[in-house]
Symmetry: C2
């Protein structure tokens, strides 16, 4: 295929291969032949909002011409400059029109994040290190086991570490190779040591020993024994690949096929523009976030400028060092896009599926194709709306069709299934499913722990939390920043008052505009919710501001002591929502650099601290104070929710999904139910189940049942013999009631 980019790519379109190479070459040229470069990621730099908005408005109104002013097309090139004793991480911004590096970020000495390619090197560096061999000499593995190391981001430093260079740590396991199956699960065989590598020198600097005790045991590892310790003598396997299971697979789960005989109802353009029903948006895909929705419209009205999953932190609650360093930021430390699974038809989604590839970056800067990292499809989600007229018994019922944008990331042992769902009633749902293998460590057999749960003898799954942050940049029927406001709505019970509330049933719906960047905690006792509103446009019927409301699950926030490292690094995870002032490029709830951080820098807490506000003020400083802090801005909403995961045995060896959803629902944005025009068409492919479903072994009535596919609990109603009735019924009532028995409650009765 010839490398010809579209002459004028959409400003939000991902880089073309030609652009990708152009950006790479500009950076290579910048550094010249004297420096070695490790390319981490090359991707489009989103335009400044102020520059993009006029373009989008022209596009939406059909006024886009060749003369429409376009934002500069810029690529961001994330790369390391590698020197003999150290590496520096730099972001270069390449103007793709000129082919020149426009700006370069300040160099960062520590490990910015870890890439897949770095892991294998780490594994080998450990295995070949004398330090590691020496540490392993404490243990004897069973015959046929080999070492298998999961690299982990280093997390926060130890108390005695200052200004550390690039570190990486590993969790060490053994793998049973006797079954000659590469997918044998090593997570059932943890080895209680943690190697730490200096990534600059690619040498191990130490191997930490881990405590393996139970309740009442010390936090410190046991004194090294003189005798070699035999590991895993009584361990059970923990296989999950079907051919290694020690239980038979179920054979009685008959297929469910989801068929779209006329095809799907959506279209996607090569540059990511997706249209489905009245929705229209652009799909982005970034190394850090995975799939992102841009420029989301419903029925030609803007709803969202950008929606994304922004960050997640997973601190483990085992107080024994070095487990304080077991705190992943799965976006900042690794990246959901980099970690995205190549999805497979008939596995990750059912039905008629469209897959989207993305470009990623090779270490030499070449673009490569990550296949099928996002899947798009429609699905049925039960009833959308229904009403039965009890007088006629006529029901009108529509189905809840959803359009799903799904991607899945594997972070070593663990998986996240993330999805955006748009529905026919104008709502957006963001869903997280947590699955995969819980992270474990060694525990002396027979002991139990206050820090987790024993999954199988010798294996402790540590208590931990997953705290997610979603970033919502609203555009409620307008792309004008000044139109955007956030309101806190609460419902308050009221005391009896003879004048205003004589019976006490009244409750008051209170509104409070968010005037200034802040955090907001959930308060379900007040039904506290956030409304993303247009400050200037009112609903013509209700007179209320056009709005979308955010309905998020009320979950526990970060439990770590606010004074400790885990909390200092994850300020975002301490409140259920944040409202911050928009600034270009501020996409990260926990800040740009999370790995090796000791506190959250440039995250939502810092954004709040600078004091942006959202409404007009009489005072000066509309453009911020002398230091540029605090200015009139448009609000960005961050929704934080999560799972306190105290593992249960049922999570082993691979856990069933734990699901969370947040909903963004129109609230006086439309003039009626936007799904009232959904046809209540009967699905003709549905079938009545008869014989095979109803026939249980030993059911003597099988043949009768086959003729009556509907089960009558205890048979059909016979007619009653009036002569058997010993008492009069109220005849007038009875007659009237029989006549009117297709009654209020809708069930059409049929007297046989």
């Amino acid at each position: 295929m010839a490398v010809t980019a579209a002459p004028r790519p959409h400003p939000l379109a991902p880089l073309s291969p030609a652009e990708h190479i152009k950006a790479r070459d500009a950076v290579a040229k910048l550094h010249g032949a004297s420096e070695s470069i490790f390319f981490r990621a090359i991707h489009v730099q989103e335009p400044k909002k102020a520059e993009l908005q006029p373009f989008l408005e022209a596009e939406h109104t059909g006024n886009l011409t060749d003369d429409t002013k376009r934002p500069d097309r810029v690529a961001i090139v994330e790369h390391d400059v590698i020197r003999a004793d150290r590496s520096e991480y730099i972001n270069a911004f390449v103007n793709l029109d000129t082919g020149e590096v426009a700006t370069v970020s300040a160099p960062v000495p520590h490990q910015p994040y870890v890439t897949p390619g770095e892991f294998d090197l780490f594994n080998d560096a450990c295995i070949n290190s004398d330090l590691f061999k020496e540490a392993m000499s404490e243990f004897v593995l069973p015959e046929g086991f080999e070492i298998c190391i999961d690299p982990w981001p280093y997390g926060p430093p130890n108390a005695d570490e200052k200004d550390i260079p690039r570190y990486m740590q590993g969790l060490v396991y053994a793998k049973d190779t006797r079954n000659k199956n590469d997918d044998s699960n090593h997570y059932g065989y943890p080895i209680p040591i943690v190697p730490v590598m200096d990534w600059h020198t690619k040498k191990l600097i130490r191997v930490e020993r881990i405590a393996t005790g139970g309740i009442d045991d010390e936090l410190e590892a046991k004194v090294r024994s003189e005798e070699p310790v035999k590991l895993f003598e009584n361990h059970k396997g923990c296989e999950y690949v079907p051919e290694l299971l020690d239980v038979p697979l179920r054979t009685d789960l008959k297929p469910i096929n989801i068929i779209q005989p006329e095809g799907a109802s959506f279209t996607i353009q090569e540059d990511g523009l997706i249209e489905w029903q009245k929705w229209r948006f652009r799909l982005g895909f970034t190394p850090r976030e995975g799939a992102v929705l841009h420029d989301v419209h419903y029925d030609n009205r803007s709803v969202m400028y950008r929606v994304s999953f922004s960050e997640m932190t997973v601190p483990y609650a085992d107080p024994r060092p070095p487990f304080h360093r077991k705190q992943a930021f799965d976006f900042g430390d690794g990246g959901m896009g980099r970690a995205a699974n190549n999805l497979e038809l008939g596995c990750d989604c059912l039905g008629a599926i469209h897959y989207v590839d993305a470009l990623t970056t090779e270490p030499d800067g070449a673009p490569s194709t990550a296949k099928a990292v996002v899947c798009l499809h429609e699905q049925d989600n039960g009833i959308l709306w229904k009403h039965t007229n009890f007088r006629t018994n006529r029901a009108v019922v529509t189905r809840n069709r959803e359009f799903v944008v799904q991607f899945i990331a594997t972070l070593a042992n663990y998986e996240y299934v993330l999805a955006y769902k748009l529905d026919l009633a104008g709502s957006i749902t963001l869903e997280t499913r947590a699955t995969g293998i819980v992270s474990v460590t060694s525990i002396d057999e027979g002991k139990v722990s206050a820090y987790g749960n024993v999954m199988t003898p010798g294996v402790l799954a540590q208590n931990h939390q997953h705290v997610f942050a979603v970033r919502i940049d609203p555009a409620i029927d307008s792309y004008n920043d000044a139109d955007s406001q956030v309101v806190i709505e609460e419902s308050h019970g009221q005391k009896i008052d003879p004048r205003t509330n004589p019976y006490g049933n009244f409750y008051k719906v209170q509104r409070e505009k968010v005037e200034k960047a802040t955090w907001i905690d959930a308060e379900p006792r007040l039904n506290r919710l956030l409304k993303l509103e247009n400050a200037n446009k009112k609903n013509p019927i209700s007179g209320k501001n056009l709005a979308y409301k955010l309905v998020a699950p009320v979950t526990q926030m970060l439990l770590a002591d606010p004074e400790g490292l885990a909390a200092q690094r994850a300020q975002f995870a301490q409140h259920n929502a944040w409202v911050t002032g928009y600034r270009d490029g501020e996409l990260w709830a926990a800040g740009e650099f999370t790995n090796q951080s000791t506190r959250e820098v440039g995250g939502v807490a810092d954004m709040v601290k600078r004091g942006d506000w959202f409404t007009d003020r009489e005072t000066d400083g509309a453009n911020g104070d002398a230091e540029g802090r605090g200015k009139r801005s448009s609000p960005v909403v961050w929704s934080v929710f999560g799972l306190t995961h105290n593992p249960r045995i049922e999570d082993w060896p691979v856990m069933p999904v734990e699901i969370f959803q947040i909903h963004i629902r129109p609230t006086d944005f439309f003039n009626a139910n936007p799904a009232i025009d959904v046809p209540s068409t009967r699905n003709d492919a549905s079938v009545l189940l008869g014989g095979s479903c109803c026939t249980a072994s030993g059911d003597k009535n099988a043949s009768a049942v086959q003729q009556h596919p509907v089960t009558h609990l205890q048979g059909s109603a016979p007619s009653i013999d009036p002569k058997a009735v010993g008492a009069n019924v109220d005849e007038k009532l009875s007659k009237r009631l029989s006549k009117t028995f297709n009654g209020l409650f809708g069930a059409k009765k049929e007297v046989k």
Copy 2:
């Protein structure tokens, strides 16, 4: 079909038609020819738990013989004895073995609940009443409109009413008949009067006038105008049936068909025994609750004795009398079973569906068949568990198959879609979907209100709450009452402590046994949850008690002033959970009689007050105090959750579903993920979408896209020209990284 009941019905089986008639006849005989009877409901009386348990244990262990002692087979006959001046409501209990009435409840003078059959009578009594005609003479309806009255339970009395007899009230609307469509929606035309009927005399006793003002207007209705008031002059229609819509139906929603080519994976017996995968349970259906699950087992181990939706209250927050009486208890006042829709194939569920009929009762006591009131089917719910081995890129992924027991009730304007879902991982989910038409009243055109939202000019949808109660009677691997305990589990953050928590990342999981009947409020800050445990059986691996945990949404409780009628009648709705001591027949969160109640009698609050306890005690009184209050019992758990519904315009004219789910999940009940044996079979019916999905009109690359059904955002990656590279890359690293690029994050990269 001959009327021959199975000789020995299962004790939990619904009544056979023959049993139904036998019970009816016994009651008719009891009253003799001198009394008129109105039969409300005839259904099976569930056996006493102490008598049923030995039977079930014999059944489960395969030891059931003809000699196994069976509980008495008893029918409950709910009926009115109608006299000239009043009616009395009585429950008669008929022993079906003897055919005799065993016991009779004390007569109840007030309206126990309303039945469908009573509604039409009410409508006619209003229309024909002079009082009503006189009230209506205040108003002039447009040509072609006729009156249409929705009967409502009377709710709590006015302040000046004591010892009222059987009352019913109505909400009055007008219906546009000009379109000659019986399903024209009258809810868009409310008339501000409320007729009240005395059901004993079947006469209207008064017609109340309703305030129609807005903010700052009085609570009282306006003084009656001298001039007739013309109604609905500027009203817009609010139709929802497709042929009356003023917008065209969507035509671009292509069908989704759900096909089970090999049939379904479940069986159902005529007596309600259902088996699906490793689940086994009995389906019941009662007039008040609708579908109920009994004797729920997984893999031959008991999980639940009984699970049911128990009650719901819907208080409206409009303080203007008589709206304090607008508080429905949809189970107690009406009954979800009585209100159950006749479900239709291809509408209420998709796929391969099995429907279940139920027997209901005619006013003369005859059984009649309510067709298709419950649907049973399997559905796919996305990914159940997945893990990708980053070293080999092999993914194992299973689908989340659910078995769904669904029923839908219509309560006048409103619909509830209720479902039990069992899954492959041993979890039970209870789901509520609220839909239908929001309840409205009149508002002067152009005004807005603090009590609700204007849906269309002149129509106010009042703020209200829906508070649901689910009843859970656990049987965690045992039917022995003494094995059952409930534990509150919380996760508590801990301060830094050099000895126990040096970095502050530790949190403590605390357990507290519920010793005594009590209520429990949600506390998401502590991740408070209830565990239903076996007190005496421990998991062999973790050492923890076998358990299921209850994961319920944290929602706002009842807002009404606790001193007022709405709250007094719905104590249950004021706390997120209740744990009460088991007593036979105590199934109702708000007590048996809710209609016309002034306080909750015999509901969860009273159950708590009597002081049952759940653990062995040294003290006396194991069988209660002198009054029989307080005894050693087994815990029953009630989960309360709900929706504060401040209507949005999008809820009009029929609202999109608002969904809540509570989950009951195994927690150290099994020895591993019970779904590890689910095959990760690829679904061969899924298809890759190409041309039709990707081809948008105007897409010049349509043909190219058709050849490449996967969208490459900006095309595929070309190879890079090494000569174009101006700087060296770190060759060793680059080589290693390329080799190992099937890296930690699972995405198999493909360099073209």
